[in-house]
Symmetry: C2
Subunit: 194 residues, 2 copies
């Protein structure tokens, strides 16, 4: 089971790394998460140079493909080469986005006739694609989902984990990052300590 | 104003990157955040190879020094060279830790006679340092703070931001990553859109 996170220059750090960390906590046979991009490395909005695990073509064999956010989305949503390299099939793949990553789903034609959510600074641009933007942290329609507000990465990762690895696995993964004394306690089920 | 995040091999991804992203959202004159470590690069627990901005000695000029967590802490808490390179002064610097990073504060003698929090899997090891471990997401004593449970990075970053950049800045930074429709809304103060 392979999950791809699509990156590009100018991606928002926390939106990638929160998804990345949560998805890597899954304990499931042959579970593999990879960062994919056009280049060997991509530079985040804060200037971190991050190595990719594979090129964009790797999304073809992924069970789930999640799009990063950040100012890079405004470049990539108009980049025909980038968009053309993403051969996705929503009948067989889960496809989702964080924050302004919804602009890329829209540019790929995946949000037509659907509601979606996005970061406030990307709302107008998403509406220009004809998408009805709703003020919610997570919106899903079948195999397509949009999440917005960085901490909503928990819902997007949870959506993928529940469908591909089960509801119990989702619970333990999400519990493992909660603050001590709130969602996670010293006497919690040890499967939540990851 | 320089803030250092201390990394090492085997650091927990989200604990570093959530702090890193939040601290980089601060808009304050000459505000600078850096990842520091013994090497040019360090490898996270999930295998990401991350370039450092400076070596450990750079903590000497930081206003705040925050310690990463992860299985690497069990190695580093016994590494005299590593610990000796960290010249810290709690009278003039804020010093904090995420999750099992508290083991490093303890190894540096910074938690003597103080309560602290840590990740459940590090509780027994922290108690062996003679520290009273309390089940809370954030514990501070003057310039020393421990936070635990990954999402408590918000409290640790918030503690640093409020003291060094002001309460209003803390509010806008923390609001900027909340889920849409919950802590962040399309009509929120635009200063919260970062």
């Amino acid at each position: 089971v392979q999950v791809s996170i699509v990156c590009f220059d100018g991606f928002t750090d926390v939106d990638v790394f929160l998804l990345w960390d949560l998805l890597n906590r899954v304990q499931f046979p042959d579970w593999k998460v990879q960062l994919v991009g056009e280049n060997d490395e991509h530079v985040s909005s804060t200037g971190l140079r991050i190595p990719m695990h594979a090129r964009l073509a790797a999304v073809g064999t992924a069970k789930a493909v999640l799009f990063a956010s950040g100012r890079g989305t405004r470049v990539k949503m108009n980049d025909a080469t980038f968009l053309g390299a993403l051969r996705l099939d929503e009948r067989n793949q889960m496809i989702g986005s964080m924050c302004s990553g919804a602009l890329l789903l829209a540019a790929l034609g995946l949000l037509q006739g659907r509601t979606a959510t996005t970061y406030p600074t990307a709302k107008a641009a998403l509406e220009r694609f004809g998408v009805e933007v709703v003020e919610r942290s997570f919106v899903s329609h079948g195999n397509i989902a949009t999440a917005a507000g960085c901490l909503a990465a928990q819902q997007l990762a949870g959506w993928v984990i529940e469908r591909l690895a089960g509801r119990e696995e989702r619970q333990f993964v999400l519990q493992s990052i909660q603050p001590i004394g709130e969602g996670l306690r010293f006497d919690s089920d040890p499967r939540a300590f990851r």
